[in-house]
Amino acid sequence: MTAVMHVLPYLVAAWVFLAGCYGLATSRNLIHAVGCLSVCQAATYVLLLGVGYRKDATAPVFSDIRPGSRPVVDPVVQALTLTDVVVGATVTALLLALVVQIAKRHGTVDPDELSELRG
């Protein structure tokens, strides 16, 4: 049982990432595609937080506990996740802005109907 629990976060991360990729590859709506990209990114949050998990550990905030008195989860991956969230917000905002422009210029958000660039 513990082995399963140990591997589970990684399996979830892989599953979420692949689900996002599947959604991207088959998307019929660009807003949906941008959402799928965020799903792929959510997989990285799961993976990073899963990596930093320690059994019976608490949050790495030392205002009320003495350093070394009890285990804490890895603060490095939490910092990475936070940075990752910021990066993701930037990318999503920019992509949605581009989708708005595509809707205005092409009159559609279906990637199948965009045919300006090919060959």
Partner: protein
């Protein structure tokens, strides 16, 4: 001296922030002058640091030095290749900004600072990526330079083509970036480290490679190869180049794509090259297979383009393949050759894009057929175009020729033939364009196929069509070509490059400085002659060179559909895994 390393990133970001804040009160010349000063100052700093980079510098930002061999801080590495790429990125940014000086028409009026500010941010991202000594910052800078590149690609946002190209670029590259981050998470789980060299040591301490090492290797390489536009991760590149403004194309093709290749070299050399990483033979197989595929597909796609910017973009894909082959043989000579080749290629390709930009602004088209014989009056541009094409083919003594010759000698055998063939095909295509557009040689090309991007009906970037070509637009490509020439002829330059590369790459193994050999000169001359011959054949006997059916199906793959490109990315990741698998199962 190493205290100055963070400035290479901080100065352009600060400059960009000031430009954005002061944008409303600044007139356009003031904003552009300020941006050029900041960019040029950073370039100067990068060069000064580069000249002092032996032995290599390491900077733990904020004094977060490792304790008992364990590190959590941000580390910057200032060695020859890193600072060299930072200097190249800075110089090319400066060139692109001078090129767009006063004539480039950016849409957001009354925000004179926004385009230069984005260029500065792009420069900061590229410098940061080149200097990053830990994997997480590699990812952050990867994303910063990508996000700015999407925004710059989509500058002319009112054009339907532009938004489509920028979106596919953004989705595919961001997905690659998240793959990198997944890989970084796995490596951190294994080693508890983020700094590149520490991860490498941690992997070695753990023992031989296993499934986790392989998965991390595949994920990280996927992201970096998306950036460097290796087949089958390359589909975003022709679309992005076809729609990006010319100064941005200069940067994308000249240095950003090469930074992806540099990332592959850096990450393999520091993380995966030890006994706990991916064995040499497997890495060689991965890079050589992908490199050959990339060179062939890029060169064939290049030959059949009529949209000149797409043609140059496909030629960049082909050259990426040659770079991958060069670093894939894993010899110090190969690394030296690629370093010189990248420097020469940056100057030549940026100059060719700059000349194409003149055509766009003068005639409102970048279509080879529509422009046939129309640019006869642009003599200086014609001369530069032909020189650029010949340098691309490897005409000695250009830097491209030196880099190509050294690389070809390092790879040897059939790969040398492939390298010559790829350069002949790409340079032949550029020469064919020059002959048709600037000299009106050959019959007017016949009507079009339906399935292609033509390049007619483009908006000039100067707002309206220019009647005379501004001096900055001709001076910049001339200087860039001169720089590419200097890479090949400046005495001692090749030795300096080789010294910097070997000091950080091949573990201090000193090889003799790369130099011109009779063999290399002959190969360069042969490539040039063959390219000229091919272009002459295309002009005089076009019927002999009609596209065979299989090239049509190759071109259909370039569908402009974001879902297709994502599917190809997944196929490429699986291919990477399959190619690297034997080394992991065998041990």
């Amino acid at each position: 001296m190493n205290d100055l390393l963070p400035l290479l990133v901080a100065v352009p970001i600060l400059g960009a922030a000031l430009l954005v804040v002061g944008s409303r009160r600044m007139s356009r010349p003031v904003a552009e002058l300020a941006a050029c000063t900041v960019s040029g100052g950073t370039a100067g700093l990068a060069i000064v640091l580069l000249l002092n980079s032996s032995p290599p510098m390491t900077e733990w930002v904020g004094g977060w030095t490792p304790v008992n061999g364990e590190s959590v801080g941000i580390v910057l590495t200032g060695d020859g290749p890193g600072l060299g790429m930072a200097a190249l990125a800075s110089l090319l940014t400066l060139a692109a900004m001078v090129y767009s000086w006063h004539y480039f028409d950016e849409p957001p009026r009354r925000h004179a600072g926004s385009f230069p500010a984005l260029m500065l941010l792009f420069q900061a991202g590229m410098c940061g990526f080149a200097l990053a000594g830990d994997l997480f910052n590699l990812f952050v800078w990867f994303e910063l330079m990508s996000v700015v590149a999407y925004a710059l690609t989509g500058t002319r946002v009112e054009d339907p083509k532009v938004v489509q190209g920028a979106l596919t670029f953004a989705v595919v590259t961001s997905l690659g970036a998240y793959a990198v981050l997944m890989g970084i998470g796995m490596l951190y789980a294994r080693t508890g480290e983020l700094a590149l060299t520490q991860i490498g040591r941690g992997l070695d301490a753990h023992g031989g490679p296993d499934a986790l090492t392989l998965a991390a290797f595949v994920l990280i390489l996927t992201g970096l190869l998306v950036k460097s536009a290796a087949v089958p991760f390359h589909f975003w590149l022709p679309d992005a180049h076809a729609v990006a403004p010319t100064p941005v194309c200069m940067l994308l093709s000249g240095v950003m794509v090469e930074l992806g290749t540099y990332g592959v070299w850096r990450v393999y050399g520091t993380v995966f090259s030890g006994p706990g990483g991916v064995p040499d033979d497997d890495f060689r197989r991965v890079l050589l297979v992908l490199g050959v595929l990339t060179a062939v597909v890029g060169a064939v796609m290049c030959w059949y383009q009529r949209h000149i910017k797409r043609l140059l973009a496909c030629s960049t894909v082909a050259h990426t393949g040659l770079f991958l082959i060069g670093i894939g043989v894993l010899t110090p000579e190969g690394d030296d050759g690629v370093a010189l080749y990248v420097l020469g290629h940056a100057g030549v390709k940026a100059a060719l894009f700059a000349c194409t930009g003149v055509l766009l602004d003068r005639y409102g088209s970048v279509d080879e057929r529509a422009l046939h014989g129309r640019a006869r009056e642009l003599r200086p541009v014609a001369v530069m175009y032909v020189i650029g094409a010949l340098a691309l083919a490897g005409l000695p003594p250009f830097g491209t020729a030196l880099g190509k010759a050294v690389t070809e000698e390092a790879v040897g055998g059939p790969l040398t033939v492939l390298m010559v063939a790829a350069t002949v095909l790409t340079a032949g295509a550029v020469l064919r364009v020059a002959a048709g557009v600037f000299f009106g040689l050959g019959p007017e090309p016949p009507g079009s196929d339906t399935y292609e991007t033509t390049g007619t009906g483009e908006e000039p970037e100067t707002g309206s069509r220019i009647s005379r070509v501004p001096d900055t637009m001709t001076a910049v490509p001339a200087v860039l070509l001169a720089a590419a020439l200097a890479v090949g002829v400046a005495p001692g330059f090749a030795g300096l490059v080789s010294h910097g590369v070997s000091e950080s790459g091949s573990g201090g193994l000193v090889v003799s400085a790369p130099h011109w050999t009779p063999h290399g000169v002959l190969l360069g001359l042969a490539s040039t002659l063959l390219a000229t011959g091919l272009a002459a054949l295309a002009v005089t006997r076009p019927a002999l060179l009609t596209a065979p059916d299989w090239t049509q199906s190759l071109r259909r793959l370039q569908s402009g559909h974001v879902g297709d490109y994502v599917a190809w990315l997944l196929v490429g990741a699986v291919l990477l895994g399959a190619l690297a698998l034997p080394g992991v199962t065998g041990s």
